[in-house]
């Protein structure tokens, strides 16, 4: 009797296992490498989870598994995974890393999926060309973030200030507002701890003065008066306007931002995706924190707006590229883009997303604002393969000038950095 019961249990278990195998064979599994945990509670995580669930409802034979990887680890892990032929089916990467992945061969062109697309379809994407290299389309943004400046409108109104129309005016306002109790007029760290952050906040200003990062042949071009003026502006903010202590300029970006969250800052150059987060963390609303273009040194002429964002791509060697493409199509569809604009306030990557009803509501004003800022003066720059290293060299100059303002000249520092960069890369 006992042995019969055991035999029945064994048969039942085997049937379950076989059933799973049979079921699994009809199901395609795709792995997504993402830095956003869809099971977390934040509004961004929940929005991503919604998109994932909708995808699986639309394609019941495709099972999506999200592997959450720290955003700084995504690039090296993806390159290594492709090398050992164990890539995920679809992965995210941050747009400045595009050339890194193209040159490493870790992402494949998506030309075969878009070869029949009309010009109209391509034009629906706000920054189609930003992921095209040598005529090949390598990925699709699923969000855009534009560089600009958050500011405390309530504090400016109380002080009787209008939005600064130049960097000079910004400095003067920041100086006066620093006199308020427990307040810093300007908070922006620029150092080697977060070189990509230094890039996001200073590159538009340098380019507004005619600066550029590299020459056509790849040699450093950042040792220019335009970049020197930008570096010196940070020095001015610390030592002349006294709107920001030197240690804030030298600290980790997130540690500096904690001062904002505590409600102790007025102006902060950042990317648009952080606006909602800053409001949420500081407990203040859009009545207090607003977003505008970065001023330039010229009055009434804003700095160009850099457009970055996270990109979805299909790694080289992906086992299910067709299913991966369906996911990318779904994530960047107008419907999902409209949802992502409504919930975590992503700026849509497609113009047709703006046709959705939510964009008629007052809540959409932020997103429209980001879009208009990006549209007015977009900064078109192809970032090189070694963007992180390039900006580490430039960030070092910011650091040195802030640490030793009397001894280190910005242009001389940039010349040294350019020499080191050219030597490192064999120019």
């Amino acid at each position: 009797m006992k042995s019969r019961i055991l035999l029945m249990i064994l048969c039942a278990v085997m049937a379950m296992v076989m059933g799973n195998i049979v079921f699994a064979q009809g199901t395609i599994k795709i792995k997504l490498w993402t830095f956003i945990d869809p099971t977390a509670e934040s509004i961004r995580s929940q929005a991503h989870n919604y998109v994932h669930q909708k995808f699986m409802e639309k394609y019941p034979n495709i099972k999506l598994e999200a592997d959450v990887i720290g955003w700084k680890q995504l690039d090296p892990m993806l390159i290594r995974a492709v090398k050992v032929k164990q890539p995920p089916e679809v992965s995210m990467f941050y747009s400045p890393s595009l050339m890194l992945h193209v040159n490493a061969g870790s992402i494949q062109p998506l030309d075969r999926f878009v070869q029949d697309w009309t010009d109209e379809q391509k034009a629906d994407f706000i920054a189609w060309d930003s992921t095209v290299v040598n005529g090949h389309k390598y990925g699709f943004h699923y969000d855009h973030r534009v560089t600009g400046m958050v500011y405390r409108k309530d504090i400016l109104d109380k002080a009787g200030f209008a939005y600064p129309e130049s960097l000079g005016e910004l400095g003067e306002q920041a100086e006066k507002l620093t006199d308020l109790p427990d307040m810093m007029g300007f908070i922006n760290a620029a150092n080697t701890v977060s070189p990509i952050n230094t890039m996001e906040i200073s590159m538009p200003i340098a380019y507004s003065e005619g600066g550029r990062l590299l020459h056509e042949d790849g040699r450093a071009a950042f040792n220019s008066p335009a970049f020197a003026k930008t570096v010196n502006y940070w020095k001015k903010m610390v030592y002349e306007y006294k709107a920001m202590p030197s240690d804030v300029a030298l600290m980790d970006n997130e540690a500096a931002n904690a001062i904002l969250y505590a409600g102790k800052g007025v102006f902060h150059i950042t990317c648009s995706h952080r606006v909602g987060y800053i409001r949420d963390r500081s407990g203040l609303s859009e009545k207090e924190w607003q977003f505008g273009p970065i001023p330039s040194f010229q009055p009434n002429v804003p700095s160009p707006t850099a457009v970055f964002g996270w990109v979805l791509a299909i790694p080289t060697g992906s086992k299910e590229p067709e299913a991966a493409w369906k996911f990318i199509e779904h994530f960047t569809s107008p419907e999902m883009q409209a949802y992502l604009a409504e919930k975590p306030h992503y700026m849509p990557v497609r113009k047709s997303a703006f046709d959705y009803p939510w964009f008629e509501t007052p809540e959409a004003s932020d997103v429209y604002n980001f879009f208009n800022i990006a549209k007015e003066k977009p900064l078109a720059v192809v970032l090189p393969e070694h963007t992180t290293e390039l900006w580490t060299y430039i960030s070092e100059v910011f650091e040195r000038v802030i640490m030793e303002p009397e001894r280190i000249d910005a242009l001389a520092g940039l010349n040294e950095a350019a020499e080191k960069y050219n030597k490192k890369f064999g120019y």
Binding site: K83, T192, M251, A262, E389, E396, E399
Partner: protein
């Protein structure tokens, strides 16, 4: 044949362990040495350049600064952690009136070692922030004094890193030394007391020689932990300000995982390995000196 099998038997038994160690240690090591002599194209070997990377590291101002920083961090941490660990181990080794008090103290003092390096870094970064940390707040409230920012002041960043590393590591040293102190025969100490030896004399001539080996092992462990440590530097200072806390280990991480200069990073890793071997050989040499007990 039977004799051969009998002789070969121990080697056959340890063969799986040797294979495993070779796979995870010797093979990567030889690959790293090989890669250090090449320019690399991401993960592929490109051009053979011999010892050029080593020359770039050992002859450049940056390379020498990183070696110097590595030694300062390591030996600064060693001195601070071992001193603190010794004092606390001696205190905890004394008889307590209530055993529960000693147990509580031991448990609390081990806590820093139970925290991960990342959390330790975040904790101290927050504590020492002059703008929103509790230490800065207290100093402002009580003395109307704004403390300097230790993590972004070049002259203070390395001492702060040393202090944080020592804080994280001293419990390990304390445990080892305490365990060793408890093996010192009490009758020797009593006999010394009867002979009129002072506390210091007892410690110097009886206790210390008996725990010397444990102390040396602890020192080697702490040296290796600190010399190869990266996480705390990434979290606390990011290698700055102005490279004041950039060590060989941090630079290896940066060059390999951020900049993709794997050949150069391999050369740095080989140099670190040579230093680690040097520390270990030094310990073995000192251990081989006369034993007292």
């Amino acid at each position: 044949m039977r004799r051969f099998r009998k002789k070969a038997y121990p080697y056959i038994l340890i063969l799986p362990a040797i294979v495993l160690v070779s796979m995870v240690s010797f093979f990567p090591m030889t690959q790293a040495i090989r890669a250090s002599m090449y320019k690399m194209d991401f993960l592929e070997l490109d051009e053979f350049i011999g010892l050029s990377h080593y020359k770039d590291i050992l002859v450049s101002a940056e390379g020498l600064r990183e070696i110097f920083n590595s030694f300062v961090l390591t030996f600064g941490t060693l001195v601070l952690a071992m001193s603190f660990a010794f004092i606390l181990a001696v205190i905890l080794n004394r008889p307590f009136r209530f055993k529960i008090v000693r147990t509580i103290f031991r448990s609390v003092l081990i806590l820093p070692y139970a925290i991960s390096w990342l959390i330790a870094g975040l904790l101290w970064m927050w504590l020492l922030s002059p703008h929103h940390g509790p230490v800065g707040y207290l100093l402002r409230s009580l003395f109307n004094w704004t403390m300097p920012a230790p993590l972004t002041t070049p002259s203070l960043a390395m001492p702060t890193l040393i202090q944080t590393t020592a804080w994280r590591l001293f419990p390990l040293a304390m445990l080892f030394i305490l365990a060793s102190l408890q093996t010192v025969p009490l009758n020797l100490l009593e006999a010394a007391k009867i002979d009129g030896a002072t506390g210091w004399q007892s410690f110097r001539f009886i206790t210390f020689p008996l725990i010397k080996n444990t102390v040396l092992v602890t020192m080697v462990l702490l040296t290796l932990f600190t010399f190869n440590m990266v996480t705390l530097i990434i979290t606390l200072t990011g290698g700055g300000p102005g490279h004041a806390t950039t060590t060989l280990a941090f630079r290896t991480f940066q060059e390999s995982f951020q900049f993709w200069h794997l050949g150069y990073a391999s050369a740095l890793a080989v140099i670190i390995f040579i230093f680690n071997i040097g520390f270990s050989l030094l310990y073995i040499r000192i251990l081989k000196t006369e034993r007292y007990y």
